[in-house]
Amino acid sequence: MTLLTVNDLWVRFPTRQGVFDAVRGISFELGQERLGIVGESGSGKSMTGRSILQLIRKPGVVQAAEISFQGRNLMELSERDMRSVRGNEISMVMQDPKFSLNPVMTIGAQLMEAYLQHNRDSRQNARNKCIEMLEAVSLRDPERVMDAYPHEMSGGMGQRIMIAMMLIPDPKILIADEPTSALDVSVQRQVLSIMDRLVRDRGMGLIFISHDLNLVAEFCDRVLIMYAGRIVESCPASKLREAKHPYTRGLLNALPRLDNPRTHLEVLQRQDDWTHAALEETQ
């Protein structure tokens, strides 16, 4: 079942030197799957995630033939309707939990506020529900976490709380923008496996945006590789190692590997025609 269809999406920023196209006419579909979007900084991967929720800051402009979510074209919704889509039906987890939580409110208060915004329920039920959510993201001692302030949490705990908060309204799609890059490697895996389990159990669609090829290969079902605002390659994650596009190959080879010592790493030779290349089908 297709949850989200994006057709010919452009994100443009007018500058003094002319219009800068951050995303240049990309199209893709998302089903009940884990879709990875990989690329380097400036490739437009984050802009793609944000533009789905119309979170591009001024003076940026989003243009698309279609961004349809369950038959509704999000491009045609008013700001008010869009607000109910955000959070209720499509949620987003950002890179650094420190900047996403209000530092002067307890975590419990923030979670309950999020819950009560979407559900008519008593405060006691809301509290129980939130504790359940915190248990679902494998936080030990959720009662204590409810009364704690964000600065008392470590990065990994903070990110789990963010995931819990995003999942409270039971969204259909979760967009995760580099959700683990601010975390240590060992914590990364824990957070990812929690996210993975929740997404599977609820039959959600996940858009996982990352710069880390290995992580995406391991964690997603399907991968889009972006370069300079375009999708240069799309393939099943399990076949990422056999990717054909020279850019993807270059990225893979540029990583130092424990099992393959070399004096010099391969350096990516960028070619101009990549920026014009159409999507190569490798599925």
Partner: protein, 243 residues
Amino acid sequence: MTAINVQNLDVWFGSVSAVRSVSFSVAQGQSVGLVGESGSGKSTILRAMTGLAPDWSGTIQILGQNLTGSTRTRGFFKKVQMVFQDPYASLHPRHSVDQVLAEALHLQGMDAINKRTEKLLNDVGLDPRFRFRYPHQLSGGQRQRVAIARALAGEPEVLLLDEPTSALDVSVQAEILNLLTDLRAARGLTYIMVSHDLPVVAHMCDTLAVMQNGSIVEMMTAQALRAHKAVEPYTRELLAAST
């Protein structure tokens, strides 16, 4: 010959102890890596060496010189230099590349500054047209090249690398790592590299020390690591998480 010898190093910030009795030594021309997660104290060791972390005890000997407290002589800074993690934060936002390099050369007492600036840019693989640009006109990789050029201004013997590529894209990381490899070969530099990325450290260093909670858990050669000879469970855990 031993370039760096650290014995029983303890470092603390206020009442918090960040490094606990760490000992290691680095031979001249060798490259040693310190690996660990955030808060393991790996960067703090470099900061204690350079005098940026003033409260420490133990012995630090660099190039035959015994260090004390947080004051370092000019002679020390001529031989020992550091490259920082975030090239966006380690360059003065209002100084052009030219100003940054000329000032470093001036401070290191170099002559023919104009010619040397050109040479430094050339050494780190930056086109001369970048010379008069400001940091915001450069990409992350280009900035890190400028930071490396600045560190090389006084023709040092020891480079301390504090996560020099963790803020960069993988393709840029490869370029910077290659540059560091080449510079070390060409100038016979001694490196201490700090990173959270095990494959990067294994790629760059002959020997590596795995750190956890301020102490060294395990020290071994990169070869031994590749041959899966790591003994400590923490090292194995890190290995499993990074492949």
